[in-house]
Subunit: 230 residues, 2 copies
Amino acid sequence: MSAPASPPSATDRLRHKTVSAAVTESLRQRILNGEFAPGIQLRQDALAEEFGISRIPVREALLQLEAQGLVKIVPHRGAMVTGLSVEEVEDIFRLREQLEPPLLALSARRFSEADYRRLRSLTDEYGAALEAGQVDRWGELNRSFHLDLLRYADRPRSLSIVSGLLQDCDRPTRLQLSASGDTARADHEHTQIVALCEAGRINEAADLLQAHIAHAAVSLVAIYRHAHAG
Amino acid sequence: MSAPASPPSATDRLRHKTVSAAVTESLRQRILNGEFAPGIQLRQDALAEEFGISRIPVREALLQLEAQGLVKIVPHRGAMVTGLSVEEVEDIFRLREQLEPPLLALSARRFSEADYRRLRSLTDEYGAALEAGQVDRWGELNRSFHLDLLRYADRPRSLSIVSGLLQDCDRPTRLQLSASGDTARADHEHTQIVALCEAGRINEAADLLQAHIAHAAVSLVAIYRHAHAG
DNA sequence: CGCATCGTTTCTGGATACAATCTACCCTCG
DNA sequence: CGAGGGTAGATTGTATCCAGAAACGATGCG
């Protein structure tokens, strides 16, 4: 009866049937892209007019974004785009380090050949997006890759949490991608992780995944701290 | 029609800041209390009429509840109260076992005397609520206790996640409380954890916390599985 | 007798209109 | 000249109304 909690992006794409969902997705992208910077106030009327719709779907979209932690709504005062403090970013990466490797160990042994094909195709796209400088594609691809790695762990709640963590990594990481060139390593590590799984060296793959997240963390926190200092 | 006239807590709590928030809270309580069982459909019109308000605040409340995982909204079909599968419950408790003890280790050394007083008062209330059979008070108290234990861990995202896990434990655990008598142990363990922290034996406290969660898990999963079989 | 199709009904999604609340500016008073 | 209060404008919250999708039932056809 109760379906395993699938990551929000999966279900959202299927139901672009309502205006609400479409607005939610659009606003989400624009916040992640940095078009709406943290601290900015989102006014319902302006957004409604821009989309050519009424305020009702806008309000519902803002509510969903608040649930995802992207905006903060205070009654009678409107919605403000939230930002992540350095402490929150560090916490998010620590959680990923703690949660993802054990889940990979559970999931890896159940990969089929088709799964490996998909993972390799994701790393390929990933590399291509990097070269092309498509920063917005990157977040989506990285999230898909990591979630696909954990797909068969059979821990619905854990996956839902990791999915949320990955989404929140997206914004700060795009900052990193624009500023730093430390992304070739990430791409290489992704490829290596898949290879280790396919070779049956699952523990090594899990260890590398942890190191991979740790690498991203130190590199990103440094840049993030720098950006927040200025 | 099928709506049993008016439960006492229907319209009386409507003097929050916004009607939306009041309805959200009211519905949340009624779902956690089991008044709205998993699987049943919540119709906007009926709820709006029962509260004596329009459908708009009801819709927004349902959206927030969906974000909290308490209902599932399918476009053009309405909102259904969700239930937790046995797998999800097991996953939730495993996550708590994994997350809470390290956070306690971080938090415990920063407890002040006032914090210990508050924790002891919570365990006292906890025991009193158990004796009085106040199943609904229990969830709130248990959640407060566990979150207070972790309060100074300085991991904002981790705490937010644990808070969500504790809320989702609430419903299944109320089931356990009604069925089982294995709650005196929980109360004793709470007291012990506080005592160990106060004695500076923080690692032991963290270990006991993990065991405490594990105990609750096995006891609850057994009952939950039994209930779902019938 | 079974099945497909069409109409009716019911419910949700969205638009428009109105009320309540907050913010900012200005005026008055000390 | 500064502080406090009040009013006007802007913005959000809620109600009412309309449109469109899904569920149900009836009816006609194979």
